[in-house]
């Protein structure tokens, strides 16, 4: 089948809309990563609202929606926002949050009023401003190389390429200023210029997304993929890559879901992005909720096993038998038997012997260390050692032993077992 025919048909309309959403999401993810990492998410919120009067004025003065003048108007509005916020901050000591809040809501209100009053001369609908018209994007096209390409897709694509190019060129600078702006400025980097550039980039990304998803949902596309990516990976270039991937995925799945459920594409995209974020919170390796629960359970199990071995060792040291009780205890003993650490009658096998000795060594060494370095009565040494014994490794044990002078016994007089 001729690919041009496919693109021109109904399926093609949807494909173009999806492609536009994907490109918009990608551009927003690039900018959004830098905003989130520099704790400027709310400035992204502010700018996405404040560009509205800039866009409206540009269109009133003859520019086309999505055209160059609109981009200029948006950037001017963004810079005006930042400038006014600074004026309020320096002029009357308003905090930046409060100042930005006053400025961007006022500008947004101004934009809406302008649109309404100039409704006859503008074909922007105020509510569309809030949530875009992604579904109608494929119908406003330009002829490019024999193919009807949606104008919004072109704008978004160009903006994305510019943003990606700019970020790549200035990567080192952005990385340094994101990590530690004060140090970067002291080292001579033009941090203020970079920040201004970032704000202008936000304005561009907002305009690119304007027709697709409207002003407010641009905020979701800026912040949510980047925040989710931050939970999953930890190097900046990876965060940006994952953010782009999550954003594009959200755009595609969101559009398809909206088609399926017959509702707004922009809203659905935001919802899908939210679901992606929630999944990242749950499943992130290391710090995700499930990962933390698993680690906590793992620690509890290890502690139970080690405690059992240590109890057995102390019992054998003192010539008694250790008692068994409880379900957890039985599970632990089962595991210890299966893994060859204790025999069927509960006595320690060589492997269990070695491990138990190290636990007890850790415990008694820590008591000796506390006795030397902290002012604690004798009967207060045991409880801290009870949990520290599970966290001491061989290297730190060696340092403690050296520091305390290789003692033979703990402060209670009990022998400290040797290492290994």
């Amino acid at each position: 089948m001729n690919i041009l025919n496919l693109l021109g048909g109904l399926a093609g309309m949807h494909l173009w809309a999806i492609a536009t959403a994907a490109v918009v999401a990608a551009g927003c993810a690039v900018v959004g990563t830098l905003l989130v990492v520099r704790r400027m998410s709310l400035l992204g919120d502010a700018i996405s609202h404040a560009v509205l009067p800039g866009i409206v004025v540009a269109v009133l003065l003859g520019g086309r929606p999505g055209g160059l003048w609109v981009l200029v108007g948006a950037v001017v509005a963004a810079l005006l926002t930042v400038w006014l916020t600074q004026v309020l901050h320096e002029g009357v000591g308003m905090s930046e949050d409060a100042g930005a809040g006053v400025v961007f809501t006022t500008l947004f209100a101004l934009g809406v009023v302008l649109i309404t009053l100039a409704a006859s001369r503008i074909d922007l609908d105020p509510s569309c401003v809030l949530y875009g018209i992604l579904e109608l994007v494929p119908f406003d096209t330009l002829l490019l190389g024999g193919v009807e390409v949606p104008r919004a897709f072109l704008t978004a694509g160009l903006v994305f390429l510019c943003l990606l190019g700019g970020v790549t060129l200035l990567w080192k600078e952005f990385l340094a200023s994101a990590f530690d702006p004060a140090a970067a400025a002291a080292a001579g980097l033009p941090v203020a210029g970079l920040t201004t550039g970032l704000l202008a980039a936000t304005a561009l990304a907002t305009v690119a997304g304007f027709e697709a998803v409207g002003a407010i949902l641009v905020v979701a596309m800026l912040v949510v993929p980047a925040a989710a990516a931050e939970l999953l990976v930890h190097r900046l270039h990876l965060v940006m890559g994952v953010a782009i991937a999550l954003g594009v995925l959200g755009g595609i799945v969101g559009y398809l879901a909206a088609w399926q459920f017959n509702t707004s594409a922009a809203g659905m995209i935001a919802v899908v992005l939210g679901i992606e974020y929630a999944l990242a919170v749950l499943f992130a390796p290391g710090h995700g909720i499930l990962a933390r629960a698993w680690a906590a359970a793992g620690l509890a199990w290890r502690v139970a096993c080690e405690d059992r071995l240590a109890v057995q060792w102390r019992a054998e040291e003192g010539g008694e038998r250790a008692a068994e009780a409880g379900v957890l205890n039985r599970l632990v003993c089962l595991w210890l038997r299966v893994s060859g650490r204790i025999a069927a009658d509960g006595r320690l096998l060589p492997l269990g012997q070695t491990e138990a000795m190290l636990i007890v060594r850790s415990h008694r060494l820590w008591e000796a260390w506390l006795g030397r370095h902290a002012e604690l009565p004798l009967d207060h040494l045991h409880p801290p050692a009870e949990w520290i014994e599970h966290h001491l490794g061989s290297e730190v044990r060696r340092r403690i032993a050296a520091d305390v002078g290789q003692p033979a016994g703990d402060p209670h007089g009990r022998t400290i077992p040797p290492e290994g």
Partner: protein, 262 residues
């Protein structure tokens, strides 16, 4: 070491095996400390040693990971009105629309209870406290228009208005000019003479031996406590400043990650 009590009355302040963690990472390890009044008691140690944290843990501002703190033999909630607090100045928004007098009046709120407004008695008390710290003439000034020393004295006046028996001060002399420091110290001495116990987290080692009767040397754990001259010896300071903190650091990280150290 705790001083033996001649009678069986409870200690003013008692930390019993107190461990405090930020997140999962311990920053104070098993602190056992007893303080009796009246007197000026200093908590001394290097930056980041956890001195402020110890204070905040006693006041319930950060949770205890282990152990307990008792005031006059009881938990804090039973004796709140007997404890006064002067926090660090950084926590406050100096652009807040309150005057010096308003701030000092806030010290009377706890005894007033819910929804009752301060009356003439409370206002009289606030004026009196302002006079005691020498700020009677700036009572109506907005708090942002004061010098660092004056701001600290406002907080002190607020604590005085709490009419407590035990006062906690968190680095009261930091960033304060010498004259204000002397004024503050004079107020604290007067409190001591009136039979109160004042516990001060202090950042400066040299002035510590002049100002405090007894001190506790803290660096993530209690190193020593007792009369200032006995505690602030070169040997103890060596233990503090050249201490084996790397071990505690490693352990803290390992505990936070639920692992063993290397």
């Amino acid at each position: 070491m705790s001083r033996p009590q001649p009678d069986s009355s409870p200690h003013c302040l008692e930390f019993h095996d107190v461990t405090v963690a930020y997140g999962r990472r311990p920053v104070l390890w098993n602190i056992d400390l007893t303080v009796d009044g009246p007197g000026l008691f200093g908590i001394i140690g290097p930056n980041g040693a956890g001195k402020s944290t110890l204070l905040k843990a006693a006041l319930g501002l950060v949770p205890l990971a282990g152990g307990s703190v008792q005031f006059f033999g009881q938990p804090l909630r039973a004796v709140r009105t007997r404890v006064g607090y002067v926090p660090q100045r950084e926590t406050v928004d100096w652009d807040f629309p309150v005057s010096v007098f308003d701030v000092v009046l806030m010290g009377t709120y706890a005894r007033l209870g819910w929804f009752r407004r301060p009356g003439p008695r409370e206002r009289e008390l606030a004026r009196d406290c302002l006079a005691r710290v020498g700020l009677a003439d700036v009572a109506n000034r907005q708090i942002g228009r004061l010098s660092g020393g004056q701001q600290q004295r406002v907080f002190l006046a607020r604590a005085l208005a709490q009419q407590a028996d035990l006062y906690f001060l968190d680095e009261p002399m930091a960033g304060v000019d010498a004259r204000s420091q002397e004024q503050i110290f004079a107020v604290l001495s007067a409190l001591r003479a009136a039979g109160k116990l004042i516990v001060v987290v202090h950042h400066d080692l040299r002035s510590a031996s002049e100002w405090f009767d007894r001190v506790a040397l803290v660096d993530m754990r209690l190193i020593a406590t007792g009369p200032a001259a006995e505690v602030l010896t070169p040997e103890n300071l060596q233990r503090t400043y050249a201490g084996p903190l790397d071990v505690l650091d490693e352990l803290g990280r390992a505990v936070a990650r639920r692992e063993r150290t290397p």
